[in-house]
């Protein structure tokens, strides 16, 4: 188990360095371009060249990367080129918003996917067909379309929920919940649709196994077989899916945070990309890669623990 863990961690570290290096190469390619974005399109060319020099953007790319990476190892992500705040401080204020959004979405997904998936598998027939049709639509509709539909209905017409904005839970727990209802719903529709199909499929697979027949033959009620045995054994593929969903949701959050003006990582990465605020982009990318690596390791561990065969 330890060897397994060590292998995963090493692979994760390699991935983190590789992704950082590639991102760095892609966005740091032209120092004067960055300087012009800071100074504005009408800035004097000489001033642009000077600013690029001041920011150390004229150094060879490899040098710049290692300078940056060296600082990161010391816990220094640098400062934003635009608002001059330490990147770590910005991330600290932004990360909870995205984690709340993604975490709540996962929770909602987990609950609804299990209920819908089980119900679909258990009932079969037209209920199953109906739920699967809903699944296809839910999965195929882009997040932002669902988001706009929800805003028009619940915020603009019914005036039940806020259309935009985020209220920290420390300010008002009720406000916080309300401000996340629409964003979480918009994100969750797609994940519930796909995850419930996973649950349904996995449960049906398990139900075909011999030991299920044995259980049934011992007179255990069908419902109990579903809930106690089938669901438990179908959970391994579910965990993998959940891990992938988490990563996918981080991507979905980018769009949803924009539409609902939530101050999370997603809106940060878009804003900083538009103004080439590279320390912030690098910090955000680093954070996201680390999260993805950690989530994957945790999921792998959970599966390995549940199923010793997968350790190799």
């Amino acid at each position: 188990m330890l060897v397994f863990l060590a292998r995963r961690v090493v692979a994760g570290v390699v991935l983190i360095i590789a992704v950082s290096a590639v991102t760095f190469t892609l966005i740091y390619s032209d120092g004067e371009r960055i300087a012009r974005l800071i100074l504005g399109p009408d800035a004097d060319q000489a001033a642009v060249v000077q600013r690029a020099q001041e920011l150390g953007l004229n150094e060879p790319l490899v040098v710049q990367f290692f300078v940056w990476f060296g600082k990161v190892l010391n816990g220094d992500l640098g400062r934003s080129l635009s608002d001059h705040r330490p990147v770590l401080e910005t991330l600290t204020s932004r990360v909870p918003v995205t984690l709340a959004l993604v975490g709540l979405t996962l929770l909602v997904t987990l609950i609804f996917a299990v209920v819908i998936g089980l119900y679909s598998a258990y009932k079969g027939g037209w209920v199953d067909s109906g739920l699967r049709t809903f699944g296809v639509f839910g999965f195929a509709t882009p997040h932002f379309l669902i988001a706009i539909g929800l805003v028009v209905l619940f915020a603009l017409n019914l005036k039940l929920l806020p259309a935009t904005g985020y209220i920290p839970p420390t300010k008002s727990l009720g406000g916080w919940t309300l401000s996340l209802v629409l964003p979480v719903t918009a994100l969750a529709v797609g994940t519930i649709a796909s995850a419930s199909q996973q649950v349904r499929g996995a449960v049906l697979d398990v139900m075909k196994q011999d030991y299920i027949r044995t259980l049934r033959s011992r007179g255990i009620p069908l419902r109990a077989v579903y809930l106690r045995h089938a669901l438990k054994n179908a959970s391994a593929p579910g965990l993998t899916t959940l891990g992938m969903q988490f990563v996918g949701l981080l991507g979905g959050a980018v769009v949803i945070e924009q539409v609902f003006a939530l101050p999370g990582i997603g809106s940060l990465v878009i804003a900083s990309a538009l103004k080439s605020d590279i320390p912030v982009i690098m910090g955000t990318v680093l954070f996201l890669v680390v999260v993805v690596v950690v989530v994957n390791i945790v999921v792998d561990l959970a599966i390995a623990w549940a199923n010793p065969r997968s350790r190799n």
């Binding site: 371009r33 800071i38 100074l39 608002d83």
Partner: protein, 514 residues
């Protein structure tokens, strides 16, 4: 059965908890009785820390972020009239190269330091020497500034500069605590010290999400600022901004032309302003890259290849006015009698092309910004092909685009360039030194007109601008199509007036509705 019930119970519990929470207060803080709060959506996040050197460099910075915090030396009205603020009066010497300002003696920074003439001098000079951005360039004409006493500032100019006073009503005129700007090690993200009508309410500010300002209790001119609190919410996404405006979550927001009709239909007032002219800029007038462009008939033909009314109707969604000149209608440089010059006339344009010796047309390449120019470029290509010009388009990202243009790699560009204040327009795109006079086109006749406009005032200056306007039309330096309207939506709680050149109202131009 038992399990099924448990799940149902759990879901019910979660739902009830959520509903119970939603019953709690949702607003951040209840407003005090009679307290007026102004909430605005701002399309960009605060791009700077709060120190001066970077305000100079940030041209896309919304003024809403800094205007509450800093007093400007003078103010400007939507009619471009200069009004007193920190400076109570001002006067030029005879050749307009020395500007003497009289400064109020009762203004203090929020840390208690008096704001005197010396503070203004330090600000002007620091600003001139730092940054290097567009606004900083606006201070380039300042040779020196001195404070002979606590209430007098004498600014000497390298040469007469009609743009210097208007600039003192904008970011060049914002006055920062001298101790802050003199200290290069000052934390650039620190809370700013100014003397403005408001101070940043740190407890209710979350960068990137919400910026709150409350009254500066000791402010000297409270009456000009009716709101007790200003809340700014950065929203880069148009859909978010429009939803917030329609849902009544903000009182005002910038509205793109494509959303204009929808916003108007939802009962929001659309205020219009003007900032730019839109059209084609033939920067290679000497024909360095494309010899044909050196021929005035070719440039005139390009002017006649576009249906300006259709562009206003379809591209600007009706939010704009046709304009065949680079100066705004009604300004000193605008020539009423030339209103119909270069009408949409493909046959006439072809004739001009033939007369110029280009009956078979020629090839040309234009740069485009990916995303921004996706709609307009195919139209330009189509219309130019009507008169025989075979256009190739090179697409660039926003950041690369300007480097390509200023590197003189393209003969003609599609532009939205400032058109609201004649002198600043000339300085920005006509004069030989102008940034947007990319190939530095120059003509002694035109130079004479520009010099006259710079060094005169009143009727004499107007005549000079008329000469410039006439020259630019006759020589077809540009192919302007329209003056697009800037749109700003406001709810029933406020009224706003947009100053020329501004995409958002200046805070002193926003008032509570009666």
């Amino acid at each position: 059965m038992k399990h099924g019930k448990r799940i149902v119970t759990a879901i019910a519990a979660v739902t009830i908890a959520a509903l119970a929470l939603s019953g709690c207060s949702t607003s951040e803080e209840p407003a005090a009785e009679g307290e007026k709060t102004l909430t605005l959506a701002v399309s960009s996040d605060s791009l700077w820390g709060f120190v001066r050197t970077d305000i100079g460099t940030q041209v896309h910075q919304s003024s809403a972020y800094w205007m509450p915090l800093y007093d400007t030396i003078v103010k400007i009205t939507p009619e471009l009239e200069i009004l007193p603020n920190l400076a109570t009066k001002w006067a030029y010497n005879d050749d307009l190269t020395e500007l003497t300002l009289t400064i109020r003696d009762d203004v203090k920074f929020t840390d208690g330091t008096p704001l005197d003439a010396e503070a203004i001098v330090q600000n002007l000079l620091t600003f001139r020497d730092g940054g290097g951005g567009e606004v900083s360039q606006g201070a380039a004409s300042i040779a020196d500034a001195v404070a002979p006493d606590a209430t007098t500032v004498v600014v000497t100019l390298k040469q007469a500069d009609p743009a210097i006073l208007p600039a003192m009503a904008a970011s060049l005129g914002a006055v920062f605590l001298p101790a802050d700007i003199a200290n290069p090690d000052k934390d650039k993200s620190a809370v700013p010290v100014g003397s403005g009508p408001y101070v940043l309410d740190e407890a209710n500010t979350t960068p990137g999400s919400i910026y709150s300002y409350i009254r500066n209790a000791d402010y000297w001119d409270k009456a000009s600022y009716p709101f007790d609190k200003i809340v700014l919410r950065p929203m880069a996404d148009t859909a978010a901004r429009m939803n917030a405006l329609k849902a009544g979550e903000v009182d005002g927001a910038m509205v793109p032309a494509s959303n204009g009709a929808d916003i108007e239909a939802s009962g929001i007032t659309l205020n219009t302003g003007i900032a730019n002219w839109a059209g084609l800029h033939m920067i290679d007038r000497a024909g360095t890259l494309v010899p044909a462009l050196a021929n005035v008939k070719v440039r005139q033909a390009i002017n006649m290849a576009f249906d300006r009314a259709a562009i206003v109707k379809n591209i600007l969604q009706g939010y704009g006015v046709v304009n065949n000149q680079v100066f705004r209608e009604g300004s000193n440089g605008y020539i009423e009698s030339e209103k119909g010059t270069y009408p949409f006339d493909i046959d006439g344009a072809r004739k001009l092309m033939a007369e110029a010796g280009y009956a078979d047309g020629f090839d040309m390449t234009m740069p485009a910004i990916t995303g921004n120019h996706d709609v307009i470029m195919p139209i330009i290509k189509q219309q130019l092909s009507e008169i025989g010009i075979r256009l190739t388009v090179d697409s660039f990202q926003l950041g690369d685009y300007f480097n390509e243009v200023f590197a003189k790699k393209y003969p003609m560009v599609y532009v939205n360039l400032p058109s609201f204040d004649d002198w600043r327009d000339v300085k920005g795109m006509v004069s030989p030194a102008a940034l947007w006079n990319v190939f530095k086109s120059q003509d002694p006749v035109l130079d004479g007109y520009i010099e006259a406009a710079r060094t005169t005032v009143g009727a004499e200056q107007k005549a000079a601008f008329q000469n410039i306007g006439q020259y630019l039309i006759d020589n077809a330096w540009y192919a302007p199509w329209a003056t697009p309207h800037v749109l700003y939506g406001t709810d029933s709680a406020i009224t706003a007036t947009l100053s020329p050149g501004q995409v958002e109202p200046l805070i002193w131009d926003i008032k509570p509705a009666k």
